[in-house]
């Protein structure tokens, strides 16, 4: 079982010596092999949720557990894909992908095999010895996803992974991620502010309120996707044309608009 369970999680931030609440009453389970997206206005604490699952931050009260074990520190069982890619610029593509395996004592032969597999899976073959700065943003994020996938993690934590990409690249990456999720299903916690992206990718979408962040509503996308068999479409624009997709998207948009702060207008 590789689920992510938030129990009564609250998180306070300290600024200028004053504490103020950033997250409140977060109770949420990301089920085994589920793709769950969190959307919300900026500053609502959605990234903080992901970072608490990663062990990069900790709740002020409540607990976060992955696979039944309370999260106390970061580790390769909870692979993170960062918005800024966070590749090591002095390492080649293959070295970046293999670094986690090296650190965890995976023998050279097995390492080479696993890196080669994931290179192929992410359409990165031929770029093994390139350095990150020689690649486009989309290719760099492919490497970052490959680096996470190669660890064979319990859960994948993706923090606005396509936020820094241009619109076309973004669409390609979204389609790739869907393909990847079919070939190799994982428990995924996906943070985004793009509503279409969330509806297209996720089984469930969590909409958060503005600060202090709470869960406003959880929308079940998977049942709609199955009922309307979105999976018959190859391309994202065909899925986005479906009345059921439009309906969900508009619903989430309305929820988010209610959460807009007065000064956001």
């Amino acid at each position: 079982m590789s689920d992510i369970v938030f129990t009564n999680v609250a998180r306070n931030f300290r600024r200028d010596g004053k504490e103020f609440p950033a997250l409140r009453d977060i109770n949420l389970s990301v089920r085994d092999k589920e793709f769950l997206a969190i959307v919300g206005p900026s500053g609502c604490g959605k990234t903080t949720c992901l970072r608490m699952a990663a062990g990069l931050e900790f709740p002020t009260s409540g607990t976060v557990a992955v696979g039944g074990v309370r999260v106390t520190r970061p580790g390769p069982d909870r692979a993170v894909v960062f918005q800024q890619f966070a590749l090591f610029p002095w390492k080649t593509v293959a070295e970046n992908i293999g670094f986690g395996l090296v650190a965890n004592g995976v023998a050279a032969a097995e390492r080479a095999r696993r890196v080669a597999d994931v290179l192929k899976l992410m359409n990165l073959a031929g770029y093994e010895s390139a350095f990150p700065h020689q690649l486009s943003g989309g290719m760099q994020q492919r490497v970052a996803i490959a680096r996470a996938y190669v660890l064979d993690p319990q859960v994948l934590l993706m923090d606005e992974p396509f936020g820094a990409l241009d619109a076309q690249t973004r669409v390609v990456m979204q389609e790739e991620l869907v393909r990847l999720a079919r070939v190799n299903p994982r428990t995924v916690l996906f943070i985004t502010h793009a509503v279409e992206e969330a509806v297209y990718l996720a089984d469930r979408v969590v909409v958060m309120s503005r600060r202090p962040g709470t869960i406003r509503e959880i929308i079940d996308v998977a049942s709609v996707r199955a009922a309307d068999s979105w999976d018959r479409f190859e391309k994202i624009e065909d899925v986005m044309d479906q009345a059921s997709f439009v309906h969900l998207r508009t619903h989430i948009w309305r929820l988010l608009r209610e959460q807009q702060a007065p000064d956001d207008h």
Binding site: A54, L56, R73, P74, G75, P76, R78, A79, V80, F82, Q84, A86, L87, F88, P89, W90, K91, T92, F99, G100, V102, A103, N104, F131, H133, Q134, R147, L151
Partner: protein, 254 residues
Amino acid sequence: MSRRTVVGIATLLAVAGLWYLLTAATGWVGSARFPNPAEFGTAVKQIVTGGYAGARIHEHVLQSCKLVAMGFLVAVSVGLPLGLLMGWNRRAEALINPVFLIIRPIPPLAWIPLAIVWLGLGDGAKIMVIFFAAFVPSVINTHAGIRNIEPFLIEAARMLGVRGPRFVFGVLLPAAAPLIFTGLRLSLQASWTTLVAAELVGALLGLGYVLNAAAQDIFPAMILTGMVFVALSGAASTWLLGRLEQRVTRWRTA
């Protein structure tokens, strides 16, 4: 040849031409103040073949290079780990920084009297003075290099399970390498600057000693010779360090 190289060579030739013009050709600057090219050539020939100030040029250069290398290496092997520790650990920073802040504004040459009292007139005192000069920039830049690492790179490493020596040598040092090398360059420069001053006092060999002896002999051509060899040695060591930097940060130019 690139345009830059051509311009560089042209500039050097122009300076040499001007030198010839002002000294040998017109006599506007007399030999007692600054040597003409021929006198310079004679002085170079003298120190290379016959020797000056008790030794031939290669012995002077070797002695100076030895002192610089020792002072620089000791400074770097203390300064780099210290900067790393201060950059990584807030507690270590709080502990070390006050001491460092007191030492830092002391001009390296102000250590000369104490160095002589402690270590006498031999190489030890000079190495100590070079150490103090070279130590400061290597600590400061390593400290800044570590402090300026993008936090998400460190988080990525922790997420991958990278820790211990692999984290220090595989993540921290390469990530800070550009600034660390800036520090090393400044350290090396400071080493040469300090060397000449340190050798002005109580040395019997070395380029600083050549300069000192030439000044006492009122021998401008030999003073210029000494200066040129200091410049050449400094440039050679900087070039070596540049090669090392290029090797270590090969990815940047790939």
